[in-house]
Subunit: 137 residues, 2 copies
């Protein structure tokens, strides 16, 4: 993740303790946290960090393309630090856990141009839904 911090500094990011902590939290496990979870984990390392800063920083990381914003249900968005490898998501319909998966094939090729209605398509997301082994119990 020091890679990430270097990249960001190279893009003119001012390196503050708060931004460093948010970046470290995202780098930890390969889990997709909500903003509130990121805030809770960041608070453990930097107790005075504010909610607004966490939201700001996450938004900046998304804008810079370092993190992907995922909204799989109507609840809180989740932040996916695995932005540099193409992948899709497998979501548990009960507990909301997300796993990264790597389907074969290119879904974009499956959409004929007459079905594109003049849109300039820039991304395709595939979400697989079901019950995880724990919730299927």
């Amino acid at each position: 993740m020091s890679d990430l911090l270097e990249r960001l500094r190279g893009r003119g990011w001012r390196l503050t303790a708060q931004r460093r902590v948010v970046a470290e939290v995202l780098d930890g496990d390969h889990v997709h946290y909500t903003a509130d979870e990121v805030h809770a984990l960041a608070t453990e390392r930097l107790p005075e960090i504010s909610r607004a800063t966490v939201y700001n920083t996450l938004g900046e990381l998304v804008t810079l393309g370092e993190v992907i914003e995922v909204s799989t249900d109507g609840r809180a968005k989740r932040y996916d630090p695995n932005a540099h490898h193409a992948h899709q998501h497998l979501v548990c319909a009960r507990c909301g856990t997300i796993r990264d998966v790597h389907p074969s094939g290119d879904p974009l090729a499956d959409l004929p141009s007459k079905e594109r209605y003049g849109f300039a398509i820039s991304a395709v997301e595939v979400t697989y839904r079901g019950l995880c082994p724990d919730c299927a119990g």
Copy 2:
């Protein structure tokens, strides 16, 4: 849409003016409204209908499988009345408009079992994102 009302009555639904109005709004155009938009349109026909009833009714229609709930961004969920034909969504990244599209191929076949992590997969959603002709300006 009287089809829909008949089906619902057959399932023991009590047919109220409020539910009828919500169903009519969804039946109108093939647009994917938010709950608030449904409420606004329903209010034109039945001024005293409450927000809670609109939310309740939409939730019931989703549970009954008559309408699909779509959350393409972190904003309000949208309700898709086209539940009886398999389709996917094309979303404008700027204005949020949704169009139904019909890709060829079966995305579920593209996910090898070793990438399923023991999940019992029950649905696959594909979302194409890009700028619509109006927003591409």
